[in-house]
Amino acid sequence: MADSQVAGRSITELKDPLRPRFSWFTDRWIAISFLTPTMALLVFITVFPLVWSLYLSFTDWSVIRDANTAPTWIGTQNYADLLMNRRTWERFVVTGQFVVPSVTIELVLGFGIAMLLNRKFNGRGVIMTMLLIPMMLSPIVVALFWRFMMQGEGVLNYYVVNLFGSDPVLWLTDRWVAPWSLVLVDVWMWTPFMMLISLAGLSAVPKYLYEAAAVDRASGWFRFRHITLPMVAPLLLIAVIFRTMDAYKLFDQALVLTGGGPGRFTQTASLYLYDLAFGQFRTGEASALGYIMLIVIIALANLFIRALNSIKATE
């Protein structure tokens, strides 16, 4: 349909060929002028700031104390201080304790829901689209919703007390519960993402493989283990990469839900960096922490990509 229309248009319009305009604008110039604005913006607003903060990370500069003085070079002092500091490590542990359970639960739940939805039934399209809404929302709004529900006398505790007869749960102020509340909110928001990708994977598994398995009277588990999982695994790994990267950056949700509390039991690396940079204004040290975070994420990404390649190689 689309093809014939385009073809038709070009033929009718070119019955009376015009002298091509802009022909002086060669491909080379087109390429340059199409690429330049994008690259300029990326360099100016991404690369240049990164280089600047790399420089600052080797100084003891503070943006409010030394606004009018040049930064003093202190070498790798900031990195040494941070890596020797128990707090820095604790922040990464908090981050890990958030990222690993969140991504795992999202993966399992998302894949499960995808298995559930991977069939024909009435209203499938509408239900699917509805389930996808959470991940499109602003993290601020999501966190505010949940904070409202997780109040001491909020709606969640009403059911905890009245249905289960237990004591109210201090969702956001108990040091053991609060980290899991962050996980719960993240699971609510991002399980749909895992579901979406899992569905794409599932629908790509050729039917004939299952039919062959049925002829062999293979068990459900066998089919899952030897047909479904291997076919879907590469896509799932991509999904895990995306989610891990995003969960690692967690900022807005934690800021609104717990603000890092109680104590610092939900203060993730991002929150700590923000506090160093714009609470205490230790600009140099904060820049160094930023680079440590960056190195960690690059290392993670490499690990995942290697895993992805090995999965693809074994296929």
Binding site: I64, G152, E153, L170, L172, G261, G263, G279
Partner: protein
């Protein structure tokens, strides 16, 4: 094909909306200067934004930011050499702001342009003078404030209680209420670790118990804060929390006001500035009375309130000073007092228009005579941060009191020793 046409329209609509709304931004007349004030979000900030609409010499906008972001925003703006022309800084921020040279010194200007001798000396010293005792002023008292006890008159009457005269009596009453059928909970305040909430709620308990945060002459925390008295003050606060509604360790201003106004709690303790929330019959339909926060072995109450300053980075410093002078004029001060603000001038504080403005105002002058402030040195934010982290854990029973105070003392001492290797600054 149908679908792609639909999406084409989406793109078009997006474009059209963006162009249209760009054209619809009202062009503001530029003959008057634009001035901005920044404060944190609470009723006096709303009141101020309503009062400045009457100012004719400039277009004034007031932004009321969440208390947790208040300091960060002001100092981030300083760092960017911009921000509000007339920021309202908390008294403890002053040391840091002056050390960074972000504020215009107002000593001479105040003496020439304002009824200087009329200012409450306590307020002037705490809000404006940096360093204290130097006589150099950097702000004009805008809002004097301290803490008040808000209680349910009907419930107290039913129990046959008078407002408590000491913290111990307050605790007994709170425990009585929690266990009685008169009302559900005893006492609530904001124990949340956000801004300076948990610190200001707890500090005056410590002071009234005879303890202290530090020795301000020698900058010593170790051994001063983590004393037996300190532990007693934390254990006491834990017992108070046990009489509060569920989740009280996470209460901010909202929840504290809410605990009174949803009828669940017999007493709360909060800043006078929140007073209007309790006199509104629709939002808070209970019989409510007010009293001075009690003492114990000593009697201190946390200082609130703050002065208005002029930013060094304001392009309109003259206009900003004119605005401050206007805000401090008799006429505006009387209106400020009558509508729920707390002025810094003794004549206004003694005026009928202040004393009759609200049922809690008559107790204010008594309470304000008992105020005490904490560290207003440039390291304030770091000290506050450390205290809040461990204090909130200890008060909510998630950390041992002694251990928490030891941690606070050790970390604060390290911050002070690093900043002042040769001892406290002289003079």
């Amino acid at each position: 094909m149908q679908k792609s046409k639909f999406l084409t329209k989406v793109l078009l609509v997006l474009l059209i909306i963006s162009v249209l709304s760009g054209a619809l931004i009202p062009a503001v007349a530029q003959d008057k200067p634009n001035l901005s004030i920044v404060w944190f979000a609470w009723p006096p900030c709303d009141l101020l934004s309503s009062i400045v609409t009457e100012y004719e010499a400039a277009n004034v906008s007031v932004s009321c930011v969440p208390i947790g972001q208040w300091r960060d925003q002001i100092f981030a703006d300083f760092a960017a050499q911009g921000g509000a022309d007339a920021p309202i800084l908390d008294s403890q921020f002053m040391g840091e702001a002056v050390a960074g040279d972000h504020l215009v010194e107002l000593t001479d200007w105040m003496q020439d342009n304002l009824p200087y001798d009329d200012y409450n000396q306590v307020a002037l010293s705490y809000y404006a003078e940096v360093p204290q005792g130097s006589g150099r002023l950097y702000s004009v008292p805008m809002m004097t404030d301290t803490r008040m006890l808000v209680y349910r008159a009907d419930v107290f009457e039913a129990a046959g209680f008078e407002p408590p005269q000491s913290w111990s009596e307050l605790l007994e009453q709170a425990q009585f209420f929690r266990d009685s059928d008169l009302i559900e909970y005893g006492f609530a305040t904001h124990w949340l670790n956000d801004g300076d909430l948990v610190q200001t709620a707890w500090n005056h308990v410590l002071w009234s118990f005879g303890g202290d945060l530090w020795d301000a002459d020698t900058y010593t925390v170790e051994g001063v804060l983590n004393s037996e008295t300190g532990v007693r003050a934390i254990e006491f606060a834990k017992e108070l929390v046990a009489t509060a509604p569920v989740g009280a360790a996470g209460f901010g201003f909202d929840e504290t006001v809410g605990a009174m106004c949803n009828g669940s709690t017999a007493m709360i303790e909060i800043w006078y500035g929140f007073g209007p929330a309790f006199t509104d019959p629709e939002g808070c339909p209970y019989e409510i009375a007010f009293a001075v926060v009690p003492g114990e072995d000593a009697h201190y109450i946390s200082l609130g309130g703050m002065g208005i300053s002029v930013s060094r980075y304001s392009p309109n410093q003259e206009a900003a000073l004119d605005l401050v002078a206007w805000l401090q004029s008799d006429e505006v001060q009387l209106e400020w007092a009558a509508r729920g603000g707390f002025p810094g001038r003794t004549s206004i504080l003694a005026s009928d228009s202040f004393l009759n403005a609200a049922p809690y105002n008559p107790s204010f002058n008594e309470a304000f005579a008992l105020v005490r402030d904490f560290w207003n040195i440039p390291e304030y934010a770091q000290l506050l941060d450390v205290q809040g982290e461990y204090l909130s854990l200890a008060i909510s029973g998630q950390m041992d009191a002694q251990e928490a105070l030891d941690e606070i003392a050790a970390e604060q001492q390290e911050i002070l020793d690093n900043a002042y290797p040769d001892g406290p600054p002289q003079g």
